[in-house]
Amino acid sequence: MSDDMYLDQQPLGAVTFAENPEPRCPCLLLLDTSGSMAGEAIAELNAGIKSFYNELQGDSLAIKRVEVALLSFGPVRIISDFNTAECFFDPLLEAEGDTPMGEAIRKGIELIRARKEQYRANGISFYRPWIFLITDGAPTDEWQSAAALVREGEQSKAFAFFTIGVNKADMKILKQISVREPVKLQGLKFREFFQWLSNSMKSASRSNPGDRIQLAPPLGWSEI
């Protein structure tokens, strides 16, 4: 049974590529859903993700090009693998557990690698993937190896890694994980953040599928 199921699944990816051969713009969200996010924070995060999806779905090019994957940590779970906006999965995340950030980053980078393999095998061009790590705490597991992977990936231009700190996030550790300067979220302005992100994705999905990164300044949601 299980073997058949996977045999059936394999060509599905390629079929979608035949129907929609547009270059892909992958975006991975690493979301902290540890216990400290419970209450308003997780509700705002969920609302933000929903509006993010709606925004992308309303744009005729982005809907074909932007692919989003969700990975939550506390514990690490792949909520949804890479999909174009036509078939996004927007769950209501629940807050629980601790903050295994290191594991989440390692798993996320692996997801990106696997998706890029699929693009390559199916002759689909892609833009440099974006990874956004959003956390309100500090890692509770080993994160140094993950930070090394991030540095390596940034150096080889395999992806661009951004970190967003919420509330009492440990900005010092975030700074050690990410090559890029971490950004602090203003209050719980997840919706503003996702609005900004969807705008950035929309304009990125129209630009050059290459290594140039064009991000608007993080205005309206960050503490800069």
């Binding site: 514990p75 002759g123 231009k157």
Partner: protein, 671 residues
């Protein structure tokens, strides 16, 4: 500086131009309807003051405007300023309505939604029209520059229109006005390295973008430089273009490229057209004039339209007659994707027919049950060391329980009385029971897997029931049934109103006819002169007056006569011929229509939209079922597997503890 949005401008002749509502907004400016000619002309007004160069460019373009340019683009027809002789702040252009960006035509998913009737003939025609549009622009010495998937529009008749013309490159005798933008996907290799577009561009550069777009139109949206690359590193499009890696080309292999799986390419078109792609994408194309021109493309695509054949097995498939079999059938078979849709017809509102549509929508039926219980799975085997450790632990636990119980018994029968001893024995028992062995790592792993599987199953099963259930479908179907009843009800009222009108008209006509039948003309033998006078005196002059009530008012009338008169009238009524053409006054019908039409309209509209909605819900549910099913099943199966995997620990630890606690509590209570 303009701070308040103005609605009043002057064209170059000083004529007043008044703007209507805003219909579009972009980075540079807004587009407005004109109050005077909203359907044909629109105005673009810039957000910021323009530099002198740009103003001059727009003036030049407007001066150069002609019918050919206007026919294929939103060409500036005149410039706008706020005061006579003032700076240019915007321009007028033809309105282009009912057209979609070209990416919605070449991309199969969007084409099927936006242009459901479009077959390959449509795509070939769009390619030819695209070449024609480029031809006109180049003919007058302009260069598009920023060729991209968003600023070329296609109508549902496959006509092509270019927009954003103010970014085109314009040349005057002494000056070159640059096109300073571009999109990498359509930028030729020789310009890929440039960091900005402040440079002279040529028609040959445009012709690269033209070839890309024609390729995408003909070959289902595939980009010619997007293929399977056998090298290790990433191969972004701009790099592939810069390195001439045409994935379908004659030399693709040498450049480590191959066409993607499930794609079609130049193999399905005649060799001489395929050759044009080779020329357009090869190194030789970078020389000025090296690429096929718009005219060259038109010259091959125009006759090609006559060389298409309809597929024997699927009438919506059209392909090049030179092929031995239909490439679309083959591609649909191998990819499992429906590439072209059959044409759909638009029907008039006709309840019976509308309802047939409803009945044609196959109900999704109750949601397929997916639960972890459906899966009987064998637990993953334990490695021998863990199995032994687990067995030993069970043994330890039995010992621990035995010690605990005997300690209890001894305490009860007072063999052991020292609380310290009891405590010690208790600690030993607890340690034996709870101290984990090496199997505990495995248990924790399996517990974590079970926890995650349970969480994922919760998320997915909720989504499954919410999105793949048939509740929304049934609700909508019931809503449609209500609407149908309401519609029929109004329709009935309307028709009975119409009947009543007709009835009264019939009566009126009949009355008129009966009036032309005077009583003296009756051939009734018993109706003599005296009686006739009596009748006339009683107001009964014609057959129209012969009614039972009127006759009753005539004093001392023989009932037999009454009967005969009535029978005479009835005979006349039978010979009366109703003329419906002279029937109901239009004004009377109109009044009826005016009363019922407003009642019917909203129901009608909701009904038609509701049917479309029902169909969408049905499609959505079936789509969701197909799409979500593997994921949901996977989660159910994963949960079942995780449960099965954990069961061995559950029975060992949990069950034992539960039984022990039950036994102890039972004992305590029995005391």
């Amino acid at each position: 500086m303009v701070t308040v949005p103005l609605t009043h401008f002057l064209d170059s002749h000083g004529n007043s131009i008044r703007l209507g509502k805003r219909i579009g907004s972009g980075g540079e400016g807004d587009v407005f309807e004109l109050l005077t000619s909203p359907d044909t002309t629109v105005a673009k007004v810039y957000h910021k003051p323009l530099d002198v160069q740009k103003q001059e460019k727009l003036r030049l373009m407007a001066r150069g405007c002609n019918d050919e340019l206007k026919g294929i683009s939103a060409w500036p027809t005149d410039v706008l300023s706020t005061r006579s002789g003032g700076p240019v702040v915007g321009f007028l252009m033809p309105r282009i309505a009912d057209a979609e960006p070209i990416h919605k035509v070449y991309g199969p998913t969007h084409r099927k939604e936006t242009f459901p009737h479009a077959d390959w003939r449509f795509l070939v025609r769009a390619a030819k029209n695209l070449a024609a549009a480029f031809y006109v622009i180049h003919k007058y010495g302009y260069v598009i520059g920023d060729v991209n998937e968003g600023n070329i529009l296609v109508s549902d008749k496959a006509c092509v229109r270019l927009i954003d013309c103010d970014s085109f490159q314009v040349r005057s005798d002494d000056c070159l006005y640059y096109c300073e933008v571009g999109v990498a996907q359509f930028t030729p290799p020789e310009l890929q390295k440039s960091t900005n577009f402040r440079l002279a561009r040529s028609a040959n550069h445009d012709n690269f973008g033209l070839a890309i777009l024609i390729f995408q139109l003909l070959f289902l949206g595939r980009h010619p430089f997007s293929g399977v690359y056998s090298g290790k590193e990433d191969m972004p499009l701009d790099k592939a273009i810069a390195e001439f890696r045409f994935a379908y080309g004659r030399n693709a292999g040498q450049r480590s490229m191959a066409p993607p799986p499930n794609s079609v390419g130049p193999a399905i078109i005649p060799g001489h057209i395929a050759e044009l792609f080779e020329l357009a994408f090869a190194e030789s194309g970078t020389k000025n004039g090296g690429r096929p021109t718009a005219g060259d493309w038109w010259d091959v695509l125009d006759p090609f339209e006559g060389k298409l054949r309809r597929c024997q097995s699927d009438a919506v498939h059209h392909y090049y007659v030179g092929l031995s079999s239909c490439p679309w059938c083959r591609l649909e078979e191998t990819s499992g994707v429906l590439i072209f849709l059959s044409a759909d017809t638009i029907t008039k509102i006709d309840l019976r027919r509308e309802w047939q549509k409803v009945e044609a929508i196959h109900p999704p039926g109750p949601i397929p049950v997916i639960t972890p219980d459906l899966y009987r799975l064998r637990p993953a085997p334990l490695v021998p060391a863990v199995r032994r450790s687990l067995a030993f632990r069970k043994f330890r636990q039995v010992i621990g329980v035995t010690i605990a119980l005997s300690c209890l018994v001894f305490a009860i029968i007072e063999v052991i009385t020292d609380p310290l001893e009891i405590l010690l024995l208790g600690i030993i028992a607890i340690a034996l029971f709870f101290l984990p062995g090496i199997e505990d790592k495995e248990r924790k792993q399996r517990w974590a897997a079970l926890d995650t599987a349970g969480y994922m199953w919760r998320l997915w099963s909720r989504k499954w029931t919410e999105e793949a259930g048939d509740e929304a479908f049934l609700t909508q179907l019931n809503r449609l049934k209500d609407l149908r009843n309401a519609y029929e009800d109004i329709d009935r009222q309307y028709r009975s109103g119409l009947l009543a009108l007709e009835g009264s008209v019939r009566e009126r006509q009949m009355n008129q006819f009966l009036k032309t039948q005077p009583v003296d003309r009756t051939t009734l033998p018993r109706l003599g002169g005296g009686l006739l006078a009596t009748l006339k005196a009683g107001g009964i002059v014609s057959a129209a007056d012969v009614t039972p009530s009127a006759l009753r008012r005539i004093p001392r009338l023989d009932p037999g006569i009454t009967g005969e008169l009535i029978a005479w009238r009835e005979r006349l009524e039978k010979v009366f011929l109703y003329d419906p053409s002279k029937g109901v006054e239009r004004s009377e019908i109109r009044a009826l229509v005016h009363r019922f039409q407003p009642q019917m309209r909203p129901v009608e509209r909701e009904l038609v939209q509701g049917i479309a909605r029902l169909s969408r819900i049905q499609q959505d549910v079936s789509k969701k079922r197909v799409m979500l099913r593997p994921s949901v099943e996977k989660r159910a199966q994963e949960l079942a597997q995780a449960k099965a995997d954990y069961r061995i620990f559950e029975s060992a630890v949990e069950e034992a503890i539960r039984q022990d606690i039950q036994a102890i509590s039972k004992r305590l209570f029995s005391r």
